[in-house]
């Protein structure tokens, strides 16, 4: 399955969001997620199933003014 992760196409075997995050290398990281522009809280990730062509945003703390 191909999904757009932070603007780049990535291949994932997992359809469940928590497993996909692990597979993409975000295991254990402090991140927040949005799927197709909608915020997905950490508690909702287990109930979130990915589909081909989905747009996933994975954001983390960063410097800001």
């Amino acid at each position: 399955m191909k999904i757009l992760v932070n603007g780049a196409w990535r291949e994932t075997a997992s359809r469940e969001l928590p497993q996909a995050l692990e597979e993409l290398g975000y295991g254990g990281a402090v991140v927040s997620t949005a799927l197709n522009g909608e915020f997905i809280a950490a508690a909702q990730r287990a109930d979130t199933v990915l589909a081909d062509g989905d747009r996933l945003e994975v954001l983390a703390p960063m410097q800001g003014g």
Binding site: S32, Q63, G65
Partner: protein
């Protein structure tokens, strides 16, 4: 002491965390500024670099209160979604709400700002709206549930100081009880002193310190200026006049009459 929603802080200087030469300089500047509040952001995380994880560790070690922003958002939807994501990651209901309307000046889209503020305040966020000095927009933001306002001094990163003194003074006079924080556009410590002298409650700075030749020294200089500006405000400045008034008593002046 300054009350921001349910929180009381001592420092009138809030710092942005971007554009410093190194994480260590940022940490030293925060300490030199005696800042209690530091703004942070959210960006796409690279699974390989995990830069965000290292940054978050640094900020937590500083022991400051974080104010997440929605910088870079150009629509209400983006800003509201970013606020939700920030609340989860940073564990705070504070949000510095930015909805940018124009790229050359980074001027806020005040219409989108009011809409987003209404939504977020209703959801329990404590919104710090980055706005202009416009009185009507200020009224709308307060009606939307904002408990403070963050008017710009000048466009972000421009270092121009307080661009519209008349408008800023009018804003201060119009809302004497509302915490007002000058956010953006200051360049040198005298700009910050002036903001406090005019009765603004605090300033939020980033570029003026981060891009200074010696950011840590500049942070200390801003802290001194803000202390001076606050003391001057509390001491009651004189009103400017158009004509001279002799400061030396004229009674008993020699060679007269």
């Amino acid at each position: 002491m300054l009350r921001l929603y349910q929180t009381t802080v001592h420092s009138r200087l809030m710092l942005g965390s971007a554009r410093y030469p190194s994480p260590q300089v940022l940490a030293d500047a925060v300490k030199a500024a005696r800042a209690e509040i530091v703004t942070v952001s959210l960006r796409r995380e690279s699974a390989g670099e995990r830069a965000g994880q290292a940054f978050w560790s640094l900020i937590r070690e500083l022991g400051v209160r974080v104010l997440p922003n929605t910088a870079g958002c150009h629509s209400v939807k983006e800003a509201v979604t970013t606020a939700h994501m920030a609340r989860e990651v940073f564990g705070t209901t504070w949000i510095k709400l930015e909805v940018i309307g124009e790229d050359d000046t980074l001027q806020p889209d005040v219409f989108g700002l009011v809409d987003a503020a209404r939504t977020l305040c209703a959801e329990g966020f404590e919104v710090f709206p980055y706005t202009t000095e416009d009185l009507v927009v200020a009224e709308r933001l307060l009606a939307a549930g904002c408990g403070l306002l963050m008017p710009w001094g000048a466009p972000i990163g421009s270092g121009r100081g307080l661009n519209n003194l008349f408008g800023l003074k009018a804003l201060r006079a119009h809302f004497p009880e509302v915490p007002l924080i000058i956010d953006a556009g200051l360049g040198v410590p005298s700009h910050a002193a002036q903001a406090l002298e005019l009765g603004f409650d605090a300033v939020l700075l980033n570029t003026a310190i981060a891009q200074a030749g010696d950011p840590v020294r500049m942070a200390a200089a801003f802290a001194q200026a803000i202390e001076a500006g606050l003391a001057a405000r509390q001491a009651g400045p004189i009103e400017p006049r158009d004509l001279a008034v002799p400061s030396t008593p004229v009674i008993g002046t020699a060679f007269r009459g």
